[in-house]
């Protein structure tokens, strides 16, 4: 009898201990530096070597770093169309913004704030130096001056996107999103960092942006170019070596479109979750009470009740 309850209490302590251990390990992993994937903010590695030709440098940088979100004269994508931007804004401001966008935004610069509001996400820091920013601006200037005809930039990703059978594609996309199907090139599943409404009880990660309204915000084209180039610091670290395949991108977009359209229900999950938590807590309390019920038993009262033994 006693031994059984001793054993039960030992098991529960052991389980709690194990849980604490796992938690500690997790914290240690997250905090430990070095691991490339574990890093919260991967530093930019040395800037890649650009084509030697100085006049081509601006173009090279643009294609590598800007084109994912911006066009020159082909309309707005993830970010604004940059045609004629040099005429529109102060050059000094532009250079500062290109070099250190996060800082400018953080300072509460009115233009930057307005842009963030309009486009729904801040421009990431691309690690350009001031001379490089100059080169890019010159390139944009030359392109703006030339024509609006040749949309030099975009090898329009939309063009490559695979046409998909809608219903099924969303399903495949969901499985890709939550990691049930592994990404072909070995990239991390989106759910590790992103949430999207209606994705299981626990939801997705909270480290990066909630993607429930991503489709509405960025549109087909914006998403495609984003996923192709993964321009954000953390995503660069994760996906540069293991890019998403074109069909995977299409499936993911289909999934995001669908969840966005369904305008699903984080509000519905919450009460269930709380109720489940409360219920679990009560059940645990009950179990402890049962297992440890002898803890307050006195001896005098039984003596009185039993008289002589």
């Amino acid at each position: 009898m006693t031994d059984k309850w001793k054993f039960a209490s030992r098991v529960s302590v052991a389980v709690a201990g194990f849980a604490a251990l796992v938690l500690l390990l997790n914290i240690a992993l997250v905090l430990s530096p070095g691991q490339k994937t574990g890093r919260l903010v991967p530093g930019f590695e040395a800037a890649p070597a650009y084509a030697a030709a100085p006049e081509g440098q601006g173009q090279a940088i643009f294609e590598q770093k800007c084109q994912a979100c911006h066009t020159i004269g082909a309309g707005r994508a993830v970010g604004p169309d940059l045609k004629g931007i040099t005429a529109q804004r102060d050059r000094k401001w532009l250079i500062r913004f290109i070099v250190a966008p996060q800082q400018v935004i953080a300072e509460g610069d009115p233009i930057a704030t307005q842009l963030v509001q309009e486009y729904g996400l801040p421009m990431p820091n691309m690690g350009l130096s001031e001379p490089e920013a100059e080169d890019v601006l010159s390139y944009i200037e030359s392109q703006s001056a030339g024509t609006a005809t040749t949309p030099t930039p975009a090898p329009t990703p939309t063009a490559t996107s695979v046409p998909v059978a809608a219903g099924d594609a969303a399903g495949i996309g969901e499985r890709l999103f939550n990691g049930q199907t592994a990404l072909r090139n070995g990239g991390a599943a989106c759910i590790s960092c992103h949430n999207v409404s209606g994705i299981g009880t626990l939801g997705g990660g909270t480290m990066a942006k909630d993607l429930s309204d991503a489709y509405a915000r960025l549109g087909e084209q914006g998403l495609t170019s984003l996923l192709k180039t993964t321009p954000f610091p953390i995503m660069i670290g994760l996906y540069r070596e293991r890019p998403l395949a074109d069909d995977e991108i299409a499936h993911l977009i289909a999934f995001l479109r669908e969840t966005g359209a369904a305008e699903s229900k984080p509000a519905q999950n919450q009460p269930i979750f709380i109720a489940a938590g409360a219920g679990g807590f009560l059940i645990l309390l009950g179990v402890f009470q049962l297992a440890w019920r002898r803890r307050l038993s006195g001896v005098r009262q039984p003596l009185l009740r039993g008289g002589a033994r």
Partner: protein, 496 residues
């Protein structure tokens, strides 16, 4: 030989009158604070009885003390790993009801009551909740065998008696009882210390007093379970354990502990003994039957030159060795073999020894008068009203031979003194009894003297502590200047 000094005690039960002065002295000095209302570091209980807290001797319930598993000695509540995994679950504790809910009376009502038909009364109030209380039990509820149908009958030490023996104990004309005053035994192998998860309990090097560090204690209460005598208590106000400190602040200034000093029956003796610490573990592993003999064997003769030399090597000062040589405890326990430890079978090697009481012999009422069916004046060992088996349970780990030897000697001394003072006992009979008890005339005189007319200094051989010198080596004296209290040393808040 690893000689150490221990401040040890003897209580002479034949002299205890059950007045509880000792308990009150202790209570006034140490446990009259909030959180300690229910504690009696010194308590006096009636035997047969279940004591305080109720049934403290029942280790099936409380899991106190040590047990012998094969050749290894383990605390009954568990070893380190078992304790740590069960640290939030310890059912082996007395509940407040097993101690008692402390109470006071609404005295103010006697003065403030409005004019009425009846005399105002002072109703009992709980000292814990402050509400009115129906008093159901107290630390001495079974005093003088009151409530014996519940308490005395459930004394665990009666387990080995036959139903007939038990019945006869409680028959009206044969009812018999005696008192046992109890304080912490300041054991050589303290179980309270062994089971403390915080390492808060320690045994002082110089005199073996067992103390709870109020700074290290984290209130796990395993000492409460671990001590088989239930002599550590949990202070619900401070969240720490407390226990008898043998009035060390008094000892260090050359005074006897409060309960010793105030004892009305003068039953208490205190003195230094020297013991061999090397053999503690081996002694605690001896089978029950030889346990008492082995424990007494640990105590060394302070007159032996080899012992004195070894004591000096261990840093015991000459004045302490001298105190050990005039220790009344050594005389009672070793020289005369009259005092025995209480419940040696708990294996904590308690350092408080009891001279067992000589109880009345069996008699019966015949024709309305008391008929002693006994030839001897003080009766014989075999016809004691409390069966030897019961006494053996208490004082000699069940070994009736040991207790018989002690009682025989006590009887011999009485007969010797009676013969001397009154002269109505035949000389041969006295000589025979003295021989049987292995007692010389000189020893009998000494025993009688130390038992009946001892002076203060005979009862208490308090060694000089030199606290004023030694403290300078471990404390910065000025640091606590102006601080007071039993609690943490904090400055007084006084003034404007």
């Amino acid at each position: 030989m690893d000689v150490r000094a221990q401040l040890s005690m003897v209580f002479h039960l034949d002299k205890c009158i059950g007045c509880h002065t000792c308990s009150l002295a202790c209570n006034n000095l140490w446990t009259s604070r909030e959180g300690t209302e229910y504690m009696w570091w010194n308590n006096v209980e009636t035997k047969p009885g279940t004591g305080y807290p109720t049934l403290w001797e029942d280790q099936g319930k409380y899991q106190g003390g040590w047990m012998l598993k094969g050749n290894s000695l383990t605390p009954r509540v568990g070893r380190r790993l078992g304790l740590l995994t069960n640290i939030f679950y310890n059912p082996y504790l007395p509940s407040l009801d097993d101690y008692y809910e402390p109470w006071t009376y609404q005295y103010q009502h006697l003065f403030n009551a409005p004019l009425g038909e009846d005399q105002p009364t002072a109703k009992p109030l709980s000292q814990i909740t402050g509400r009115y209380l129906d008093i159901e039990a107290g630390p001495n509820w079974d005093d003088d065998l009151s409530g014996s149908s519940v308490y005395a009958r459930n004394d665990v030490n009666l387990a080995e008696l036959t139903p007939l023996e038990r019945e006869s104990l409680f028959r009206l004309e044969q009812m018999v009882f005696f008192y046992i005053p109890r304080i912490c035994n300041h054991c050589l192998n303290p179980a309270c210390l062994a089971v403390c998860p915080s390492g808060a309990i320690y045994k002082r090097g110089e005199d073996g007093i067992v103390l709870v560090s109020q700074e290290k204690c984290r209130g796990w209460r395993f000492c409460v379970s671990g001590c088989p005598y239930k002599k550590t208590y949990y202070n619900w106000k401070t969240g720490k354990a407390e226990k008898c400190i043998l009035c060390y602040p008094r000892l260090e200034t050359g005074q006897a502990p409060a309960c010793f000093h105030t004892c009305v029956g003068r039953i208490r003796y205190l003195g230094v003994i020297l013991y061999d610490a090397e053999r503690i573990e081996a002694t605690a592993k001896v089978p029950d039957n030889d346990l008492v003999a082995a424990q007494l064997g640990l105590i060394l003769d302070p007159g032996d030159a080899a012992v004195v030399a070894a004591a000096r090597r261990n840093g015991i000062g000459d004045d302490w060795i001298a105190a050990a040589q005039r220790s009344p405890v050594y005389k009672f326990v070793k020289e005369w073999g009259l005092a025995l430890p209480l419940h040696a079978e708990f294996r904590t090697l308690p350092m408080l020894f009891y001279v067992p009481p000589l109880l009345p012999v069996i008699a019966s009422m015949r024709d309305g008068s008391y008929d002693l069916a006994e030839a001897e004046f003080f009766g014989r060992v075999e016809s004691a009203r409390v069966p030897l088996k019961y006494m053996a349970r208490l004082f000699s780990a069940g070994n009736t031979e040991t207790i018989k030897r002690v009682i025989r000697k006590l009887l011999a001394v009485r007969v010797y003194q009676r013969a001397k003072a009154v002269g109505d006992i035949a000389e041969e009979r006295v000589a025979a009894m003295m021989a049987e008890a292995d007692c010389t005339a000189e020893q009998a005189e000494q025993i009688a003297r130390l038992t009946s007319v001892p002076r203060f200094d005979d009862r208490f051989a308090i060694p000089p502590y030199h606290r004023e010198e030694t403290i300078e080596q471990i404390e910065q004296l000025m640091r606590h200047k102006g601080h007071v209290g039993f609690d943490f040393n904090l400055p007084l808040e006084r003034g404007l």
